[in-house]
């Protein structure tokens, strides 16, 4: 194996999806490929740090949120039904806040998350967010750093199912935020 390894190959190898003796022989003999793998590892460490520092917004599966709890992170959770509202905050004792948006997701092909402004207009749309239809909820984890910097305000999210029949709102979710 003389040529340098494709980055995609290194990624598959790193995540245990490729077991290949020749590939490992090459990695041990090739400083450049080894350095690129090191770069991938550093990128991964950077992703973990960015997430732990609360710098990221994310839509997450349920198991991921359970994992955060099992790591000892403190999560403030708000479970909101379609059309519901909740008083919310993020205190110094919390690491993250998680919004659990309840929704009838059976049969949904594509799901969009919309941030809705005070006049009902869409301020931002996140298309094709990940969801598990069987779970019946979407878990949104906003950037804790951004939430901590927010003044008191009211904020609304909307879930929209998108399919061959067009777009169908599944529910609006209102958050009445008070700084912690």
């Amino acid at each position: 194996m003389k040529r340098h390894l494709d980055f995609a190959v290194l990624v598959d190898y790193w995540f245990g999806e490729r077991e290949d003796d020749a590939l490992e022989e090459h990695l041990f003999a090739c400083a450049e490929c080894s350095a690129r793998l090191e770069e991938l590892v550093r990128l991964g460490a950077g992703v973990r740090n960015a997430f732990r520092s609360g710098a990221l917004n994310a839509v997450l599966p349920r198991d991921f949120v359970e994992r955060l709890k099992s790591e000892g992170l403190r999560l403030r959770e708000y479970r909101v039904p379609p059309g519901g509202s909740v008083n919310c905050t993020l205190t110094g004792a919390d690491d993250f806040v998680v919004s659990r948006l309840q929704a009838p997701l059976a049969g949904v092909e594509r799901l969009d998350l919309v941030y809705v402004g005070p006049d009902g207009e869409a301020q931002a749309t996140f298309e094709d967010i990940p969801f598990d239809a069987a779970a019946g909820e979407v878990l949104v984890l906003p950037s804790a750093a951004a939430v901590r910097a927010m003044p008191a305000h009211t904020f609304r999210m909307r879930l929209v199912a998108v399919g061959a029949q067009g777009a169908k709102p599944l529910g609006d979710y209102t958050f009445i935020h008070t700084p912690g």
């Binding site: 973990r48 991921f64 969801f131």
Partner: protein
Amino acid sequence: MEDAELAAAVSRGDGAAEAELYRRLAPRVRLYGLRHLRDRHAAADLVQQVLMTTIERLRAGAVREPAKLASYVLGMCRMTVLEMRRGAARRAQLFELYGDMEEAAPESQPRVIEEARLADCLAQLAERERTVVLLSFYADKSADDAGRELALAPGNVRVIRHRALGKLRACMGLE
């Protein structure tokens, strides 16, 4: 210095050659350890065990093909990881002996990941891409496992992951 020359110098007890062997191979052993043991401390243990044993063997003239030093070290890694998985007692003994050695220095000065910039780059990903990146790197999920959590086919996860990493590397100027 070629591996064969390096091995010969180490076998003569040349301290500078030992340091060079460590500098050259420790990062690769550490990566191997991280890949197979998924634990930073275990990977650091692996570096100590494999390289100290390699140096001992070279000094004793017990390495049959010194020109294939990297291949020899890889073989040592494989055996040692198997031993570590079995909880071999030698690990504790060697760590006791060499535990105060410094952690492996990077082989070449790696480009530093600027975390604020990385957070901006992550924010630019599509939601689904960011979720897959987090499942991969934070939760250490393979495409199969991430696919199960997201109700996606593993091949689909791989495509999303590949696209997301391409965007991140481009955004970070790593390509």
